[in-house]
Symmetry: C2
DNA sequence: GTCTATAGGCAGATAGAC
DNA sequence: GTCTATCTGCCTATAGAC
């Protein structure tokens, strides 16, 4: 009694989030229901409401966890990629992995449905993109300073171009079920940012 | 009696399409209902079913008309823009006009909801993107031949980059309600395609 | 072409037993 | 924590009168 968890069973809550996350990434927030999650998890709809009072709460939790997980992935790229070009490639690879599972980026999907989302979810979606912009801006400016990247204007603008291009490339590649189409688009985009002289160094 | 229209009243059908189109572009295909359209048009839901038997039929008609209208807009750009750079700018401006009305591209929105769409709508969505790719490819290859555009690889790949980047930039700019953000992204994208020397004088 | 009325189903959510 | 049962509301769609 002295020591106890302050929340509901993390195992079940996490499993709910896993299922709901995939459903949103495939079908959208307006394209899945509590019944879908309940059926897949093998519990009742009412039990879901115990863990997440309403769909809006579930949605907030989804974005929050997704953003945290993405931050970890970015830290991992920082830790393993040697220079800015490699970090950009690692960033694009995060998107490719999502597309390979026939999913859309969670927040890209929610951006499409933005006008139908409750306010807390809206704010959380924007925070995700803000986080991505900030990380990319840092990589881009560092790369330019190091002389391995080339682009005009502020890094923030090119960061936004990269995010938008990757989200849009995912959006369109998914109907065609064509990962190669996505990869070719990415190569074309990032190829224009890498200084030719430095390109050989990347291997 | 000898002469009569072969279809339902085009006026009402067109008005239904106008309202439904905007609703889909703002809220998504899974985010609006017959009741929304009926209320806005001031008729009953049952009357809608007279013009469009089911939601799927309405959806097909929406994409079909949107694709036709877009083709006309592309022809207009061809007719008014003097060279490839101007045509690319005109193309991007079509997207900006949509974003200004706080809407997403109809087919960009439907691409997000792709997995929930009936098969005929899926095919129509892809045809829209195919049309865009074809037009852009022509503009790009012509511009490269004329020495006013520069890009590596096949025109088709850069065409896909442009479509994806514009769709993605719209997708993300809309939550922020920031047209300038979109425009800056577009400038950054297209700026990399225009040959510096050729921008001022040709040959 | 448009209406009212309604069918039949699924949505998100709650009450209360266990 | 999970259940069954149920509520209320909205959804797409249809029947039949006008």
């Amino acid at each position: 009694m002295a020591v106890r968890v302050s929340q509901s069973d993390p195992g079940t809550a996490a499993r709910i989030l896993d299922i709901a996350e995939r459903l949103v990434q495939v079908r959208g927030f307006n394209g899945f229901s509590y019944a879908d999650v309940a059926a897949e998890l093998g519990i009742s709809k009412a039990a879901l409401h115990y863990h997440f009072a309403g769909k809006a709460d579930l949605g907030e939790a989804l974005i929050s966890r997704y953003t945290s997980n993405f931050a970890e992935a970015l830290a991992s790229v920082d830790a393993t990629a040697a220079d800015a070009p490699a970090r950009l490639a690692g960033y694009a690879d995060l998107y490719l992995q999502v597309l390979r599972n026939e999913k859309m980026c969670l927040c890209g999907m929610l951006a499409a449905e933005y006008q139908t989302l409750p306010q807390p979810m809206r704010e959380a979606v924007m925070r995700f993109f803000d986080q991505n912009e900030g990380w990319l801006e840092g990589v881009l400016e560092q790369g330019r300073t190091d002389g391995v990247l080339q682009f005009a204007g502020p890094g923030r603008t090119t960061a936004r171009l990269i995010i938008g291009s990757l989200e849009g490339a995912m959006l369109i590649a998914r109907p065609y079920g064509d990962d190669a189409r996505f990869q070719a688009t990415v190569d074309s985009l990032l190829g224009g940012l890498i200084r030719p002289a430095a390109a050989a160094t990347v291997a």
